[in-house]
Symmetry: C2
Subunit: 139 residues, 2 copies
């Protein structure tokens, strides 16, 4: 919240996250930004990702899989994680933010928000699964 100064590194990171819907990991962000700023350090990437997360300019996704992912889309939306290939994708669905009211009903604390992660098989893995079934059964 204190006086923040402009930095090219932070600007590029934020811009990159706004431009993709691939929910990259810190390491992927690092690789991408290095194409533009070859001598950026991984520490700087982490520091900026954390700062942008704190200010709410980006979102950090802790959806399992060993490392966090980051999302430049801060409007309310929901994520799907494929349990086979690990891909994280946005879901096109209506708002379910009234679940916050359900949660608040019998709770004496303060609910400020929620994150919902959906799990299953992504379209691509589903297709592959079906193809394998066909080749095995010959149907």
């Amino acid at each position: 919240m204190a006086g923040r100064k402009y930095s090219k590194q932070r600007a590029f990171i934020k811009q990159y996250l706004a431009s993709t819907s691939s929910h990259p990991t810190a390491d992927t962000v690092y690789d991408e930004i290095r194409k533009r700023i070859p001598n950026i350090s991984l520490g700087t990437v982490y520091r900026n990702l954390n700062q942008l997360t704190e200010t709410g300019e980006i979102i950090k996704l802790s959806c399992g899989g060993g490392c966090d992912r980051f999302d430049g889309n801060t409007s309310p939306h929901y994520h799907f994680i494929c349990t086979l290939c690990g891909t994280v994708m946005d879901l096109d669905m209506d708002s379910i933010d009234f679940v916050n009211k359900c949660a608040a009903k019998h709770f004496t604390g303060r609910i400020e928000g929620s994150q919902t992660y959906f799990y299953g098989t992504c379209p691509s893995c589903l297709f592959q699964e079906e193809a394998e079934l066909v080749s095995k059964t010959g149907l």
Copy 2:
């Protein structure tokens, strides 16, 4: 899914998780089990937590905060994470599992489940916050 053999270590871990609703980290599980099995190793704890997660006997929570947490309560329920103190608690609320149908509506993959995490201020931190407000404003 292969032939699994009994182990005292795994039995104790599962029993401990079933007995608490504190959503412990792997390290906390290690500390607790060591009270009963002093020479158990952290590797064994991780191996068993992973195996129990795979068989669905326990649940792994990736709710941010650096490390995963584990829950012996496998019946559908929801979690609240206090953004101030980090506590993870169960929420007493109605099922919202129809959100899976909302998610499936326009999705060509297969939705198999979901996890919802609620964030905010827990009752204890809320009380503290109010106490500080009173002492500052004198109201």
